[in-house]
Symmetry: C2
């Protein structure tokens, strides 16, 4: 059996034009693909249309892989690569297979010797980290933490402790409508000299990136609102 | 005092053309800047020349910030932003301030209210992670681990344990000439069912990305050579 390749195709983080965040090879590749694995077909069509495939969307094939897909179902995607057909993997925003379920498809490809080709595009996590001024030589992305106040505060304290022990920046995200309650809990329970970067609407016109100590944030807090936001924490306590 | 902005400008990971990995806004921005903070002036000139500033390099100003710069020296860079002058920060390869000393300059900007603007470009760490098929919902970058065999094996076992305990992919890098001895130590001391991704020369023509269990790697090892390489480890042992 000859298999095609899996192309990992990044998408914009906001509503900006794809040309502002994706390099030229992405635009030369897209018209050569007709089969896509996507988190949501509707937004994938919208991206592909904006990326130059307008008028050709009807000729494309979409297969959904998202949080509703059981890991056991992923094996069925293998046939998509048959007869040398290459497949594009798209995430809702940013890099596929980072902080989304696409990694299951990538793992399938490695199991079957299918070549995986990552393309360059925006990573909200890395843009937040690089712009934070916090430790970029050691960092962890922990995804979402519990939403209930008590569990959330316990998790935040554990992250601060981990950051101190490993001298490691801790990156986390939250569902946008919970940004402000997470931020309030951070101000409530983290140490005054812990540094926190708030990075909202990255790559968009109203992009907001600011790093302050918790004490400084308390003195002049902000309202983040429902914008996609990345938080980066670095404890200044040395544990050694 | 009116300060300019700090632009975080990614650079290619290999010798490829900048157009293949950087989006259009980087090329519109570059001719507007004349002051750069760089890891090494020689390679920065080469990049800027390839990125369209050929013939204008002599008009540009370079200031070095690298592993020889003491954190206390960074304050002196503040004057670069005076009179509304914007500054570009360049790394040797990939994203500035991630896995390089540039974060000190970014932190300085946050302390003085200077706007920090990250641009999109290639991150070898994220390209390795997305193409690994390993856990992209929780991961840590730990940088370099000790080079001496005994300490290195202890560090590798600690990383594997951490990966199991936190269900977290562990990303590490090594000085290229030590890739193969690190790889050999991984095969020697990690568990047979731990998965390891080897991602070498990312974005280059001879890019190599493969994820296998340690047992599979032992059965058919490879020679990585002195190519820049990112390693990603994920333990399959559940600790809970």
């Amino acid at each position: 059996m000859t298999y095609g390749k899996l192309y990992l195709i990044p998408t914009p983080l906001g509503d900006g034009a794809p040309e502002t965040v994706l390099p030229a090879p992405v635009f030369s590749l897209l018209p050569t693909l007709h089969r896509f694995v996507v988190e949501e077909t509707r937004t994938a069509r919208r991206f592909l249309s904006a990326a130059g495939l307008k008028g050709h969307i009807g000729e494309l094939e979409f297969h959904e892989l998202n949080e509703h897909t059981a890991p056991s179902e992923v094996e069925k995607f293998l046939h998509l690569f048959e007869d040398g057909t290459s497949v594009g993997l798209l995430s809702e925003a940013g890099l596929p297979a980072v902080a989304d379920p696409g990694a299951l498809l990538v793992a399938l490809c490695h199991r079957h010797g299918i070549e995986v080709v990552p393309l360059v595009g925006p990573s909200s996590l890395m843009m937040a980290l690089m712009a934070s001024g916090l430790n970029g030589q050691s960092f962890a992305f922990v995804g979402y933490i519990p939403a209930k106040t008590e569990e959330r505060r316990t998790a935040l304290k554990a992250l601060e402790k981990r950051s101190a022990a490993a001298r490691q920046s801790q990156i986390l995200i939250e569902t946008p409508y919970r940004n402000d309650s997470l931020f309030a809990d951070m101000l409530q329970c983290l140490s005054g000299n812990t540094r926190l970067c708030v990075a909202a609407n990255l790559t968009c016109e109203d992009q907001f990136i600011r790093t302050r100590t918790i004490a400084q944030w308390k003195a002049s807090p902000v309202t983040i609102g429902k914008r996609p936001c990345v938080f980066v924490i670095l404890s200044e306590h040395l544990s050694f």
